[in-house]
């Protein structure tokens, strides 16, 4: 189905199932431990799986000059050892910047350099520790600040609208400030894990991956196999946040290990390997210049960002939102990219916007203060309803102002004292902060196959994944709504590369695109049902397990017949995304308390107001947003991969060293979804919220900390050491 005109009234608009806050259909499996994750598959095909343990490089850059494998080979239970020397010719995946199996060249710390396969886990781990590696260490670049001047301009996301330099120089009120965001780790709870089994020259890999088609394609490419020889299955994914978008070492090495050992092999990355072996959100240095008239209207907006990555990698696109978020005739955005030999940087939840708004939304707070304006009023004043770089191009929907207004009213914003450091609650300094949330809405082709059985059950198959987002449930809701059956009459099967290719889970495009693909397949199935039963599908109504037109009706099961009825289609998006700017908006409000003595910050209240198109399931969508708000707390207050700039590694590479929020860090969280349908986005009229939810949170917290203390911190995370010596003296 081609989607190239705004959606009109369709069966989804009935909202009998879609739009309802239903419990997840996979909930009973997840809460009872019955949902099988990658490492837990127990097909007969993998019943005798051996265990693989990954060895990571002990240096960041250089060359392996010797690898002593004899002791490991001779160790009890060892079946095979895979290294680059014996793995056979391998290509690199299209989506991978760096090879997944290193050697003899080492590209980054903890890059996989060997897999030891043994009868059991304990044997594999112990044997892996017996491998001795000699290296010739090469010099590398590990310090973003030190390489800043070598960074090269990147065309992507560059803006030069009007006369930024001249307008900024002449602006009556100006801000020029530099902010930094650190490297961050996805730190999903389920480690990257895979079980691989070969059947002749075909390999099946049960894995934990957000994007099945990318993963299957890159596994085939890396192994130099025809694409059809590779099957990937990810029925349940224990979190991803961008860290499982791509083929990673666990899947490749499980396949190589299984081939070498001649039997199925299971591999999970050990937790201490994950932070350096896999991808991370790259650190940024961001310079923001804002110029405004005394009336508070922005006239010049400049945002430049520096980040680093491995040779051939890409920049963190931290300036993206600045192209579109606020009005202002003169604009400059520019990315610069340095070559670093740290592990591969790549997408993490809301790449670009998340770190970009961490900086921009502090800058807006600082500018409001310079102007003597309320930060909410300042943002409202500078709203735009069109693409500021192309006024002919409207937003499909843009309710940022309403998000700010409703949020301010709900949160009690009027009680905020604009004089920082002026509110006290016992030992705590308290403050309120606000930030705008913005995330572009991406749409991606997505397919599904539907089957109607003779008992009237509907089965949906698509390679879409559910990484905790609720895909199982919203896809079931979509099929139930379209086919007019109860949701418990729908079976959803996901995450198998033998199913139609979907949008996958990434870039907050999954919910809208994947359900739109299911919609398309449902339309086809409705046509097939109507045709088989002699109805005109244009005026047929599907409800109560029946098809009806006029006073005639028939059970869907009748149409299925003994062999069932199958329909497959995909949604393909036309150029509406060019005609209209599609984005999602929100506003975050936060109250913090800062210990007046120690400078520790604790979040007391949080509210997010989101405008993100039709909300397909308010219960799961709300969870997406509170989860993102929680990750935002981490980004604001604690998360930082600490770089050892001498040895080129993230030092705190486990969950004790890399702190993410725990229960005690998170207050009750409130989320409001504005009533919005966006017919430009898809027949579902929905958009995404999973990434919108994190955008701006950290800045709202940083602004609240400033409001509490009067000390402005521009380097994340806002830990106590960054303001301690400037806090008021104790009584």
């Amino acid at each position: 189905m081609k989607f190239d005109k705004p959606a009109t009234l369709n069966p989804i608009d009935r909202l009998r199932v879609v739009g309802q806050p239903l419990d997840r259909i996979d909930g009973p499996l997840k809460t009872t431990g019955q949902a099988p994750y990658a490492y837990e598959h127990r097909h007969q095909a993998v019943a005798d799986a051996a265990y693989g343990h990954v060895v990571g490089a002990g240096i960041a850059k250089g060359r392996i000059t010797g690898m002593e494998l004899d002791a490991a080979r001779a160790a009890p239970g060892v079946l095979a050892i895979v290294t680059a020397a014996n793995a056979g010719p391998l290509d690199k995946g299209k989506m991978n910047t760096v090879r997944l199996l290193g050697g003899p060249e080492v590209d980054h710390y903890h890059q996989a350099i060997a897999l030891v396969v043994a009868e059991n886990f304990e044997q594999a781990r112990a044997a892996a520790a017996l491998i001795r590696v000699d290296y010739a260490v090469a010099e590398g670049a590990y310090d973003l600040a030190a390489t800043r001047d070598t960074a090269k301009k990147v065309d992507q996301s560059a803006t030069a609208t009007g006369d930024f330099a001249g307008t900024y120089a002449a602006a009556p009120v100006r801000l020029d400030a530099t902010y930094t965001t650190p490297d961050q780790s996805h730190a999903m709870m389920e480690p990257h894990a895979s079980v691989a089994a070969w059947d002749g020259d075909r390999v099946t890999v049960w894995t934990s991956n957000q994007m099945i088609d990318w993963g299957a394609g890159d596994l085939a490419r890396t192994l130099k196999l025809p694409r059809e020889k590779v099957r990937l299955v990810s029925a349940f994914v224990g979190g991803g946040f961008g860290g499982k978008l791509f083929l990673r070492a666990d899947a490749l090495l499980a396949a190589l290990g299984a081939r070498a050992a001649g039997r199925p092999v299971k591999v999970a990355l050990s937790r201490p390997l994950m932070m350096n072996n896999t991808t991370h959100r790259p650190a940024t240095i961001q310079r923001i210049r804002l110029g405004a008239g005394r009336d508070g209207r922005l006239t010049a907006i400049g945002h430049e960002s520096w980040s680093g990555d491995q040779e051939g990698g890409g920049p963190e696109t931290a300036v993206d939102q600045t192209r579109l978020l606020y009005a202002g005739a003169n604009r400059l955005t520019q990315l610069r990219l340095a070559v670093l030999d740290l592990p591969e940087g790549n997408a993490m939840r809301a790449p670009g916007e998340a770190p970009g708004l961490m900086a921009l939304e502090i800058a807006m707070d600082e500018m409001a203060e310079k102007l003597g304006m309320d930060p909410v009023a300042f943002r409202i004043l500078n709203d735009t309803q069109v693409d500021p770089n192309d006024p002919e191009r409207p937003f499909s929907q843009r309710q940022l102002v309403e998000c700010l207004r409703q949020g301010a009213a709900r949160f009690g914003w009027e009680r905020r004292d604009g004089r920082p450091g002026s509110r006290r609650d016992g030992r705590w300094l308290t403050g309120l902060g606000v930030a705008a949330a913005f995330r572009n809405n991406l749409v991606t082709q997505s397919g599904a196959r539907l089957r109607l059985d003779r008992d009237g059950r509907v089965t949906v198959e698509t390679d879409m994944t559910d990484i905790g987002t609720g895909s199982y449930t919203i896809i079931a809701q979509t099929a139930a709504e379209m086919m007019g059956v109860a949701i418990d009459r729908v079976t959803v099967r996901l995450g198998d590369s033998s199913f139609p290719v979907s949008a996958g889970s990434g870039g907050q495009w999954g919910a809208n695109s994947a359900t739109a693909g299911v919609y398309a397949a449902c339309v086809k199935l409705r046509d097939a049902v109507a045709q088989r039963l002699g109805f005109n599908s244009a005026d047929a109504v599907f409800e109560g397990g029946q098809i009806r037109a006029g006073n005639r009706s028939a059970d869907l099961a009748e149409a299925a017949g003994p062999d069932g009825l199958v329909a497959e289609d995909s949604i393909e998006f036309g150029d509406l995304a060019e005609t209209y700017q599609q984005s999602t908006f929100g506003a975050h409000f936060v109250e913090v308390a800062v210990d007046a003595a120690t400078g520790e910050t604790r979040v007391r209240r949080m509210l997010a107001v989101c405008a993100a198109g039709r909300i397909l399931n308010p219960k799961t969508a709300r969870s997406q947003v509170i989860g993102a708000m929680t990750m935002g707390i981490g980004g604001a207050l604690m998360e930082e991969l600490a770089v050892d700039t001498r040895h080129g590694l993230f030092v705190n590479h486990d969950l004790a060293g890399y702190e993410v929020p725990v229960h005690a860090d998170v207050p009750h969280q409130e989320v409001i979804f504005l009533d919005e349908v966006d017919p430009i986005s898809s027949p579902m009229k929905a958009k995404g919220v999973g990434e919108l939810g994190i955008c701006g949170v950290a800045a709202a917290i940083a602004n609240a900390v400033y409001n509490a203390t009067g000390v402005r911190v521009r380097d994340y995370p806002v830990t106590l050491d960054k303001h301690l010596d400037r806090l008021p003296a104790l009584a």
Binding site: G58, P272, T598, R602, A656, P717, L720
Partner: protein
């Protein structure tokens, strides 16, 4: 994890005998730190002696009015004991500020005293560490040191001791009781239990090989306001940046021990009279000779401000 044989000991004598037979053995009780380190092959015993059956899991009154805590008393049970909560609140508070509910259910009194540093370079086998491999050097010096020591460290090691419980025991003048492999027993004041690194950071405590902790004794209750303040980035389930354990008497005199600043709980009795001149003066005296790094210089200010808050709370 290297292979090891395993046996259960039923009495301290049996444990001591087993330790004599296996010079490379480790005692295991809660296992929450030992197994963590064995998985990384930082600890590589060839034999484990399970001491959980030693019946050292009671808290008993001592003749002088103090308490004797069995080595195997779990952190949860110690923190929840009504006598500890009433008379040694500092200890209860310190325990409850540490780790998680699950870990406290397993971790023992003796094991908590023996837990090893959380220095990230100690935990990474690719990085030089004099604790893991004497003479290898210390990769942490000059590296990421925000969590590490500001005082008492050496050119060989800048690690901190991560225990909260030990800070409380230091302020409470507890004594560690042990039985050696030859069956002899001794009592070691907590003050002398943890060693500073010097040239031999691999030697972290006063224990001899094969020596087993059987219990910890607390002197009679000292009264006063007992406060344990742990400062950390994350609100729970995190190691201290700095912690302050204090017993403040109505006359203003106090005992103060600091956590997160050195390889052992840091208490300087001679500096405690300085408290009369305020927290900053006291910290200047307690941390006299501190040599913080650029990363962790904030800990000195933090200790002073935290102590000031603790003293204010004690007065309130």
């Amino acid at each position: 994890m290297k292979p090891f044989t395993y046996e259960r000991a039923a009495s301290p004598a049996e444990a001591a005998a087993a330790a004599r037979r296996h010079p490379d053995a480790r005692f295991i009780a809660g296992g929450t730190n030992l197994l963590d380190l064995m998985k990384l092959e930082i600890e590589t015993p060839s034999h484990l002696i399970d001491v959980n059956g030693l019946a050292l899991d009671r808290i008993e009154a001592t003749p002088d009015g103090g308490l004797r805590i069995g080595a195997l008393v779990r952190n949860t049970d110690l923190a929840a004991d009504p006598r500890i909560r009433r008379d040694y609140a500092l200890l209860s508070r310190a325990l409850l500020a540490g780790a998680s509910g699950q870990l406290r259910n397993k971790a023992t009194t003796a094991g908590n005293l023996l837990q090893r540093t959380r220095c990230p370079y100690f935990y990474d086998g690719n990085m030089a560490c004099n604790k893991r491999q004497p003479g290898a050097g210390c990769a942490a010096l000059g590296g990421v040191t925000r969590q590490l020591a500001v005082i008492g460290h050496s050119e060989a090691c800048i690690a901190t001791n991560p225990s909260d419980m030990a800070v409380a025991l230091r302020a409470l003048d507890a004594v560690v009781e042990t039985v050696a492999a030859d069956g002899s027993t001794r009592a070691i004041p907590v003050a002398e239990f943890h060693r500073l690194p010097g040239d031999t950071p691999q030697h972290e405590t006063a224990l001899q090989p094969g020596e087993l902790i059987t219990g910890v004794t607390l002197p009679p209750p000292v009264g006063g306001r007992q406060i344990y303040r742990k400062v950390r980035d994350r609100a729970s389930y995190a190691f201290a940046l700095v912690s302050v354990g204090a017993v403040v008497q109505p006359d203003g005199t106090a005992r103060v021990a600091l956590g997160g600043v050195a390889a052992r709980p840091w208490r300087v009795e001679a500096a405690e009279p300085e408290l009369a001149r305020g927290a900053r003066a006291a910290i200047d005296a307690i941390l006299d000779g501190a040599r913080p790094t650029q990363d962790n210089a904030f800990k000195v200010t933090l200790a002073a401000r935290t102590l000031q808050a603790v003293l204010a709370e004690a007065r309130s």
